[in-house]
Amino acid sequence: MTIESIVERFILEEILIGDNRTKIDPDESLVSSNVIDSLAILRLISFLEEEFGIQVDDEELVPENFETLNEIKAFVENKKANS
């Protein structure tokens, strides 16, 4: 499975439960649109750290890194490449 599909599944199953959605567009705004609220983003970040073995630094806790599935994928790939 690709990074973005793993993340999509987590968001659909763990965060947007009960929303009856089956898909998230890779460029769909997640954060600034408040589709997922800030506490849910924290859960997503914990998931990314565990699932992909990365550590999100304090200065990386900015909405831009998690705005869309594409941005999340780029962020994770970058972290993995530099670890």
């Binding site: 609220d37 914990s46 900015v62």
Partner: protein, 428 residues
């Protein structure tokens, strides 16, 4: 009239100063222009503010006066999709975090109690308004001129003047201090009143502070003042208020229903029991706010933003610090220094800088702030919001992280804090 310390202003800064000075055996005169009780905003205490009240031996009086008990702060996110809670906690002597409570205060009652206590403990009250600063040949302050209630003038000579005039910033306005710089929140307006019939939670948290968020720099407070009355305030950019073209009253009533669904749920019908008032341009910083013969306390030199209720605490804590600094000064300490209160300035500014960084991080970096509060640095956030921001040898990790996000290094100019959000430029 001659005294050791002349205190301009009989609010919590002035009265706490008088009481702490009295503990150190120093006499003071409080100059206050209004008759008490009088209305004031700034109604929530941090945990450490409660500790100061206890240190002054006033806990029994606070309980007797039935000021509401605050055990923490709950923040409701935009659209009330989530909320998070930060408890008020104290540190034991061996450094453990333990639950503690502090108070919400109806200021008219609280300030009057403090003034009565200060007088009972020996401070003298002069009913009048300070109009001029008396200086000696070297520019050092040696007292104030007061217009008395009957219109007559009186000079009050003192070895030290404590400016506790609040937002009136008396000494700054009289050119005694360095310049006053605008702060980051100087284009905000706070519009506030009190309501009855608001819904509170049941149980031990029923009188906690609530902060309700609409968007950045647009929020409301909900602070119980007694069994029935809740103080409510809406804080927004002044430009937003201006473009609504509403009266303050209409603005407040509408915002209480529009700002956040949780606020609307708790105040289904807005029943105001107090005038609707406002404060603007509340964010500023005065440099060189202490020097030969004078110290400015609390709002008289600096204010950032009300969101975390630091104002009343900072004022009373600075009063405590100033009393000790005054004692050292009266005993001849630091008289050979260019500024005898340089250490006091640094202690106060370092603490206030930390407050400003926490407030700015909350507004500018809400995601990181949530992560720090919930996951990464919960104890440190609890410490900071409880008020433990002074005299830190090393900034806590959370503060360092916030400064990194804010891209500020808190470097000093002339050994004191560099104002932000202003046109300040350091001397070449």
């Amino acid at each position: 009239m001659k005294t050791q310390v002349a205190i301009v202003g009989g609010g919590p800064g002035g009265t706490a100063s008088a009481m702490f000075l009295r503990e150190l055996g120093i006499q003071s005169v409080i100059i206050e222009k209004e008759t008490f009780p009088r209305y004031r905003i700034g109604e929530s205490m941090t945990g450490e503010c409660g500790a100061i009240v206890r240190e002054l031996g006033l806990e029994d009086r606070m309980l007797k006066d039935k000021h509401p008990i605050k055990r923490g702060l709950t923040v409701y996110g935009a659209g009330a999709k989530n909320s998070w809670f930060v408890p008020v906690m104290a540190r034991t002597e061996d450094g453990k975090l333990v639950e503690e409570f502090t108070w919400q205060v109806r200021r008219s009652k609280f300030d009057q109690m403090l003034l009565e206590e200060a007088i009972a403990r020996g401070a003298e009250l002069v009913q009048g308004q300070a109009t001029e600063v008396l200086t000696n040949g070297n520019g050092g302050v040696r007292g104030v001129r007061v217009r008395m209630a009957d219109g007559g003038m009186q000079d009050i000579k003192a070895e030290v003047v404590l400016d506790c005039s609040g937002m009136a910033t008396f000494l700054a306005n009289h050119g005694v201090t360095g310049p006053k710089y605008r702060g980051n929140y100087d284009r905000q307006i706070a519009i506030f009143s009190q309501v009855v019939g608001a819904i509170r939670d049941e149980g031990p948290h029923r009188d906690d502070t609530l902060i309700l968020y609409r968007r950045k720099n647009h929020w409301s407070w909900f602070i119980p003042l007694d069994e029935e009355v809740v103080s409510v305030g809406v804080v927004v950019p002044a430009a937003y208020f201006a473009e609504k073209k509403e009266s303050k009253r209409d603005f407040l009533v509408r915002e209480l229903h529009d700002l956040n669904p949780e606020l609307k749920r708790r105040i289904p019908e807005v029943k105001l029991v107090e005038e609707v008032r406002s404060v603007v341009n509340y964010s500023y910083q005065v440099r060189q706010f202490a020097g030969p013969g004078f110290i400015c306390i609390g709002d008289a030199h600096r204010f950032v933003d009300p969101v975390f209720s630091f104002g009343l605490y900072v004022t009373m804590k600075e009063a405590q610090f100033a009393a000790q600094a005054v004692k050292d000064y009266l005993e001849g300490g630091n008289r050979d220094q260019p500024n005898p209160f340089a250490q006091h300035i640094k202690l106060v500014e370092d603490g206030y800088d930390a407050v400003e960084d926490v407030v700015d991080a909350f507004w500018e970096h809400p995601l990181a702030f949530a992560a720090f509060t919930h996951v990464r640095y919960r104890d440190e956030v609890i410490d900071m919001l409880s008020g433990r921001v002074y005299g830190m040898d090393e900034p806590p990790r959370v503060l360092k992280a916030m400064r990194k996000l804010l891209k500020r290094d808190r470097s000093m100019d002339d050994g004191i804090s560099r104002p932000l959000g202003s046109s300040y430029t350091p001397a070449a």
